[in-house]
Symmetry: C2
Subunit: 202 residues, 2 copies
Amino acid sequence: MREQASSPAFRRAEPDARRLSLIEACARVLAKNGPTGASVRVIALEAGVSAGLVGHYFGGVDALVAATYDHVDAQVSKALDNAVATAGAVPHARLEAFVTASFTPPIADPALLATWIAFWSLVTTRKDIARQHDEQYAAYRARLETLLGDCGVPKADQRLHAIAVTAMVDGLWLELCLSPGCFSGGEAREIARRFLATITGR
Amino acid sequence: MREQASSPAFRRAEPDARRLSLIEACARVLAKNGPTGASVRVIALEAGVSAGLVGHYFGGVDALVAATYDHVDAQVSKALDNAVATAGAVPHARLEAFVTASFTPPIADPALLATWIAFWSLVTTRKDIARQHDEQYAAYRARLETLLGDCGVPKADQRLHAIAVTAMVDGLWLELCLSPGCFSGGEAREIARRFLATITGR
DNA sequence: TTGCTTGTTGAACATTCGTATAACAACGCG
DNA sequence: CGCGTTGTTATACGAATGTTCAACAAGCAA
């Protein structure tokens, strides 16, 4: 009765693949247990690896959370790009698609909010994470400014209008995720559409 | 050499007063260390009492955080009331004061955001806290609907407009606290004023 | 097959966590 | 003044935390 020679105790993975699986596990744990329950061991268990690997690839939970935020943010950006591309060539339709996509799955998802909250909770404490937040939000606003410009919004007005639209989207998205029963994604889209109309002059 | 008879090792306090001091200590610790660093011991140390008292008056950190949110939310409501009262009797001025007060101290304060984030992080996990969140946000929107009605907004439009204004205020306030360098409180007020103008028809 | 590289494990470490509980002492009351 | 109530402390406890590191083994190269 010998051990099966073809049942390795663990699999080696490419560094990037392992990193990704840990990031995805972190996102799942954050969504399920909240920031408090996202410990190194629980995340590692969720990923099916030992706890030491988190320290090996990241070096701390904070760095893993930051990487998770970065990854999820990239996914959101991709979804927004798809929405814009699907909208066609008319500038107003592209802008509207970019904005209203935030209120449709997979972006309007309480599970995503958990990652955002965990990340926000680190902004005040850690300076490098505050910088990361500034950069990623600046990138979002920059894309919005371009879309606004394509709709004829004067250069001088783009910055403040981009800030306004971003705030509106964030506020609606936040509340939509925190208490889904208060209003619907469709109502959020309607609100956003009306607001965009007042900016682009219909 | 005897001990001074007039130096008690600790003071007894009225239950409500002790509760309040723990709540305020909790808010300070949340602002300083973030949700992760807000343990029973640290909060008790900040309040100048022993750790056991937190369990005695609340029963868990979660309940203390919920109580802290409730207390801070009440303070914010009071500040908003003051702003409205100071604005006089003209409905449009009252509405504008209510909205723009969120971008002025003491409401626009990163320290407050820490309490909000800690509370949000519990909404997904705990049902009773989700209910508390729904109630307090509903109260905010209800006040807004009244102010909108006083400005001539038709009853049928009040709900959606209140949701929109709330989202705009939350988004601006959130970003203002997260990265204060991106835009100023004055710019936030300007954005809010313009948005209110489009709703109330100038 | 043999050897080497290195991703991976598992255990040990010192802290810190939340909670429960017995002993203490402040303060009002008689 | 002494007594009793009870707010408060201090301690102890088990569980869970982050981190470290030596030993192991998977998979590639020769």
